[in-house]
Symmetry: C2
DNA sequence: GTGAAAGCGCTAACAC
DNA sequence: GTGTTAGCGCTTTCAC
């Protein structure tokens, strides 16, 4: 194993100078820099991270906290975080919380115990104010979901705007009886999408009907989406369009419609959200909002990196979503 | 931050003794042990990993090499690895290779550069003999897929046996015209499943028909599965059963059959593999082989941990699969 | 059974 | 602009 002092000998300088070169300190004369650089290359020297970490009091580990990385949505984000982290020389401690607050806290205690330099939270309830205590002391960034009223850096799409986009489109198709399937979870995305739904109706002078709002499980399960759609479609004056808060729910709604003999999109428009599940297997392919999950992950890492190395920040990054029209939506007949 | 010497003071011993307690050296007198232990608790001391790693020349980082963690199969395994790693105080460097050999080698160079203590490979071609060079020098374990003829520790299910199970079942249903959709990739699982298919036919005196063997893409895509099924079902003397190497392919086959007006399972039995995609959304629910992905991941980590800490090993662990009969299979009519 | 002390590889004050 | 050196927190040899 070659060390900094091997390089120093090779280049005929002191270890301090090598260290300076390694850390891009400006005070090194170009010739010296060159000489050291060549020695580094020649010996193919790689700095020992444990030594550097010990000295700098860092870990070069980040915490990734998610309910369940098996969920494709989180898997995509994780992929982006993971790639960025590798590029910057960080490794990851992946914590599955199963959505439990105790597990969330437990994971953040890793920060307290100095097992990680910072954390990226993939999902957190809108009202998790207990987070403040941690965010004040440690580098934390929100990814996708975030707590309201807490000034913590975050990256996500504009869920409210995306919801508006969906609703404008549905309304432009001539629909008036528009329902939504939301979720029983307590995420900001869920709230904002519902707000967008309500505000759009109001803007267009369409009365909000409470029984046009159904709710699926916290984890957007197919089954619960299907059940919610059943409720919606079996009531009287059934909707001609349903805005679903996720693609899995939309899939459930499509099946419910099919079982009830309602044709999609001819008699019922269904819109999804996320575009991460494969919804181009079965017709009708689902019209949906697509999120740049991978980039959300990458960006989250970069912000965290900035905080760890340059100190506090409260950047809020909003990435663009895309509206993808496929087959499950049509003008009212 | 409390250090080992704080603990030493508190317990009235030397740092060496604290270290011994920390590492369970037997040579510490019970009373001393007790005293130190209490001091550790009292100060809620946590050893500084960077210091320990520097001293021991470790990183406490493992490499996880996968084509794409966004694939649910890998995501499930990753979940198991991640949980086990966290429990043992390891973090992970996740490398997406996209199936490219150069990326695989690149990732393993992290071992050379001492950026990780060992690696878990989630997929590797059956004939990647170049791996030997690395496996001889560094702790590496195979997970799910492995290279033939290389004596590297591994954990997987018995793909050959699983294939036999499927085939015995299909044959017991009375089918004689049995096709398979394999994959163009070069994984051992693919080979073994195909072997099982062939051997079963032979055992039951059914002639192998080359045009009953179709092939989907390397990544088992739905589309390619559907295309392969089309080829199978449009030929003359079409099969009455198709054994698909993955659930996504089976899903494709079901759609192909539906489009061709062939009823599943009445006129065509379709079997899948993996049970990781959600195949209980649409009827018919798919009869399939289920793999204990999470446990495969956990076990792989444990073996790696063993090698890192106790030295070479060539344990081969075979975990049990399950055969799940659902709706896509029926006796020949 | 326990302690003293060296040293892992690096960074950063401080000196020149 | 560069070198000398202390020291980050831990493990481990060597004494006793």
């Amino acid at each position: 194993m070659t060390t900094i002092s091997d390089v120093a000998k090779e280049a005929n300088v002191s270890v301090a100078t090598v260290s300076r070169v390694l850390n891009n300190h400006s005070s090194v004369r170009p010739e010296t820099y060159e000489r050291v650089y060549k020695a580094i290359e020649k010996l193919s020297f790689e700095p020992n991270m444990s030594a550097r970490n010990l000295r700098r009091n860092e870990t070069r580990v980040i915490l990734i906290v998610a309910p369940n990385i098996t969920n494709p949505y989180y898997a995509h984000i994780l992929s982006g975080i993971g790639d960025a982290a590798s590029e910057y020389g960080y490794s990851a401690l992946i914590f599955n919380t199963n959505g439990e607050e105790t597990r969330e806290k437990e994971s953040l205690d890793m920060l307290k115990k100095k097992k990680a330099d910072g954390a990226i939270l993939l999902s957190i309830d809108i009202d998790s104010l207990w987070l403040k205590e941690y965010a004040d002391k440690y580098p934390i960034v929100h990814c996708s979901e975030y707590t309201k009223d807490l000034n913590i850096p975050k990256v996500s799409i504009d869920n409210y705007k995306a919801s508006l986009d969906v609703m404008e489109y549905i309304i432009s198709l001539g629909h008036k009886r528009i329902a939504t399937i939301t979720s029983s979870n307590n995420y900001i995305s869920t709230h904002e999408r519902l707000e967008g739904y309500k505000d759009s109706l109001e803007k267009h002078g369409i009365n909000l009907k409470e029984d046009y709002i159904a709710s699926a499980n916290a984890d957007y399960s197919f089954k619960s989406g299907k059940a919610a759609a059943y409720k919606l479609l079996q009531g009287e004056n059934r909707p001609t369009a349903i805005f679903c808060i996720s693609d899995t729910i939309a899939l459930g709604a499509i099946i419910a419609a099919k079982e009830l003999g309602i044709k999609v999109p001819e008699d019922l428009t269904i819109i999804g959200f996320d575009d991460v599940d494969d919804t181009t297997m079965f017709h009708p392919y689902i019209t949906t909002i697509s999120q740049p999950c991978y980039d959300i992950g990458r960006e989250a890492f970069k912000i965290l990196f900035g905080i760890i190395n340059k100190g506090k920040d409260n950047k809020k990054v909003v990435l663009p979503h895309k509206f993808i029209i496929r087959e499950s939506s049509a003008p009212i007949s």
